[in-house]
């Protein structure tokens, strides 16, 4: 396939189509609406299902029903819309159905704004709907990676009968860059043995998330955990940059990771042995790889477009071996490379101590900056 200039949202939609998605249900919300619009044109011309639902609540429950038929199905939304989907996602998890969701994250909390953010990390990676379940979460840092991870998402969802979330941010959804789309895969011809498609010539099947006897529900919870353990063993994904001799390791994902790469390169030019560790699977999280890096790094710098939600996972991996520092931008703000470069320079220059909560020092350093910016309001 030739490389084309593609917008992230359209690229993810087209990648899903080529991966064989049979039905899409969604609702307009910025900055992901191009996904909905792309499906609205392409799905009918391919004879597949597109439906704009009355709400994200309805959209995810349409996905729930459609997933019961054993077809590849999906939805997409942005942060406030994804909040509304949490009920349906929990039911989908409890029914052990493969579903793909793309969350193009925007600034929050509340209505927030439509600028790029990573504020949904905790909601998607650690939380979400009620009850015990773990989705697979994949975080792209480019349009190409958004395409590749969308295709992968369908394969993983099918393999583990699980929810896979492509956690992009507004930057990935909105920006255009050259990328290559995958070939069009044929639609599924045979459906899984659990699919509900009418009891023609077989015993009836029921798909449900209710197990009224707690003993039965515990069996389901245990099965979900066994699958999650397989996922943790097999599906950890990450990218490493300049880590062979790195003393100072920046950890960032998605757009924050990509901006950090520019800063790392600049730091290298200045003779600082910096490197970048970019988690691609946020769930399962690459704890073991980070723990190994903690054996030889002098310090870590975690950078995110939120108040340090992934930071807790890095702290969990590093286990207090070396200092972990934090630099974040929030509310839809995206860091510039020079901001992260300044942090790398500071960490490389100053003696650091191991802190229980690196956010406190960051907030102290950041307070003047925020006050200067806020004074314009």
């Amino acid at each position: 396939m030739p490389r084309e200039l593609l917008k992230g949202n359209n690229a993810m939609a087209e990648a899903a189509i080529r991966a064989g998605v049979e039905a899409y249900f969604g609702y307009p919300i910025t900055p992901q609406t191009e996904l909905l619009e792309h499906f609205s044109q392409r799905m009918p011309e391919l004879g597949r299902v597109f439906l704009q639902a009355e709400s994200e609540v309805a959209a995810i429950n349409m996905v729930y029903g459609a997933a019961c038929t054993g077809a590849r199905v999906m939805s997409s939304s942005s942060s406030p819309g994804v909040s509304l989907m949490m009920e349906g996602l929990s039911y989908i998890a409890g029914t052990e159905l493969p579903v793909v969701l793309i969350d193009v994250v925007r600034g929050g909390p509340g209505l927030g704004n439509i600028a790029p953010s990573q504020g949904d990390y905790n909601q998607i990676v650690h939380g979400g709907g009620h009850g015990d379940y773990h989705p697979i979460v994949l975080a792209p840092a480019s349009v190409q990676e958004a395409i590749d991870l969308t295709v992968l998402a369908f394969d993983l969802a099918d393999r583990y009968r699980t929810i896979v979330v492509v956690l992009a941010d507004g930057n990935i959804g909105q920006m255009m860059e050259p990328a290559e789309l995958p070939p069009m895969l044929p639609l599924r011809q045979e459906y899984p043995e659990w699919a509900v498609r009418g009891a023609l010539g077989r015993e009836r099947r029921v798909l449900t998330s209710i197990y009224i006897d707690p003993k039965d529900e515990e069996v389901v919870n245990f099965r979900l955990m066994k699958v999650w353990n397989q996922i943790q063993a097999n599906e950890v994904r990450y990218r490493e940059y300049y880590l062979d001799d790195a003393e100072f390791i920046v950890v960032g994902y998605g757009t924050a990771g990509r901006v950090a790469l520019s800063a790392v390169r600049e730091a290298r030019d200045q003779g600082i042995r910096a490197g970048l560790f970019r988690p691609v699977s946020l769930s399962p999280y690459p704890y073991a790889q980070l723990e190994a890096l903690a054996e030889r790094a002098q310090a870590f710098l975690v950078t995110e477009m939120n108040s340090g939600q992934m930071l807790d996972d890095v702290l969990k991996a590093v286990k207090g071996r070396v200092p972990v520092e934090f630099y974040g931008r929030m509310g839809g703000m995206v860091p510039f490379p020079n901001e992260i470069l300044a942090e790398i320079q500071r960490i490389a220059a100053a003696p650091l101590t191991i802190k229980a909560d690196p956010r406190l020092d960051w907030m102290e350093r950041f307070a003047g900056f925020i006050e200067a910016a806020g004074s314009k309001n």
């Binding site: 299902v49 429950n61 099947r205």
Partner: protein
């Protein structure tokens, strides 16, 4: 049929109904509604093409009682889930079974838009004017003055508003092909309900849009009266508020003789 009068089967369990005891309270009309649906699935020979969508409420375990494929929806979302199935499998017979809290309160958006889209699904709507499974709280269909565990002095319309007449509301939508209200309080009305359920499924297989049969039902346990008294209470108090009526019947269905 070659059978003699003595050997003729006049009443038996429909094949679409599973041979298991139900969990419903004595005197509850859910069992009648289930049987009527099962008879219709049998008569139309669609059991193997049928996919039911169960609600949250007393009938949450309806899938145990039918010998056809079933899925279990979140509270109020059965029409959305049915939509997802029907859009992927348009030649299957997809039906949802919902109570009044499920359909007329938490699921109001989903039922309205499924009807508005003319979604080719059939909804059986059980209206017993109360929340059954949670133990008898105020429903959107609770009558003015009716006592429930969350309106202990009776539904005060100044504070709690008025009951919603869902069949009347939904019948205003262009996407609706068949909307009627029936009752399960006596044999004559049960026969009328059976015919309406048949016509609702006939509307679906003919692609005439959204179809719904509202069934006035009793809840002796939460109404706090015995089953016979409950049937009388339905007739005396519910029917004046919820008239037995055809609200929308597509011309093709009006002309159908079954």
């Amino acid at each position: 049929m070659e059978s003699t009068p003595e050997g003729q089967v006049v009443y038996q369990r429909p094949a679409s109904l599973a041979d298991v005891p139900s969990h419903y309270c004595p005197g509850c009309t859910h069992g009648i509604a289930h049987r009527l649906i099962a008879e219709v699935l049998d008569e139309m020979e669609v059991r193997e093409r049928a996919i039911g969508v169960a609600p949250v409420g007393c009938s949450v375990f309806i899938y145990n009682y039918f010998d056809c494929d079933f899925v279990e929806a979140a509270h109020g979302r059965a029409p959305a889930m049915a939509t997802g199935i029907k859009r992927l499998l348009p030649d299957r017979v997809v039906f949802a079974y919902q109570g009044d809290g499920d359909l007329a309160s938490i699921g109001m958006a989903e039922i309205m838009h499924a009807a508005g889209r003319g979604e080719n699904i059939t909804v059986i709507f059980i209206n017993n004017a109360i929340y059954g499974m949670t133990g008898g709280q105020l429903a959107p269909t609770t009558l003015p003055g009716q006592k429930t565990t969350s309106s202990p002095t009776g539904r005060d319309v100044e504070v709690m508003g008025f009951p919603l007449r869902m069949s009347e509301i939904l019948s205003t939508l262009d996407g609706a092909g068949y909307i009627v209200r029936r009752s399960l309080h006596d044999p004559k009305n049960i026969r009328m309900a059976k015919k309406a359920i048949r016509l609702a499924f006939e509307a679906q297989v003919r692609g005439l849009g959204f179809s719904m049969v509202e069934l006035l039902s009793t809840c002796p346990t939460n109404w706090g009266i015995d089953p016979l008294e409950a049937l009388r209470w339905l007739e005396e108090h519910m029917i004046p508020v919820y008239p037995i009526q055809d609200f929308k019947v597509a011309p093709t269905i009006a002309g159908l003789r079954i």
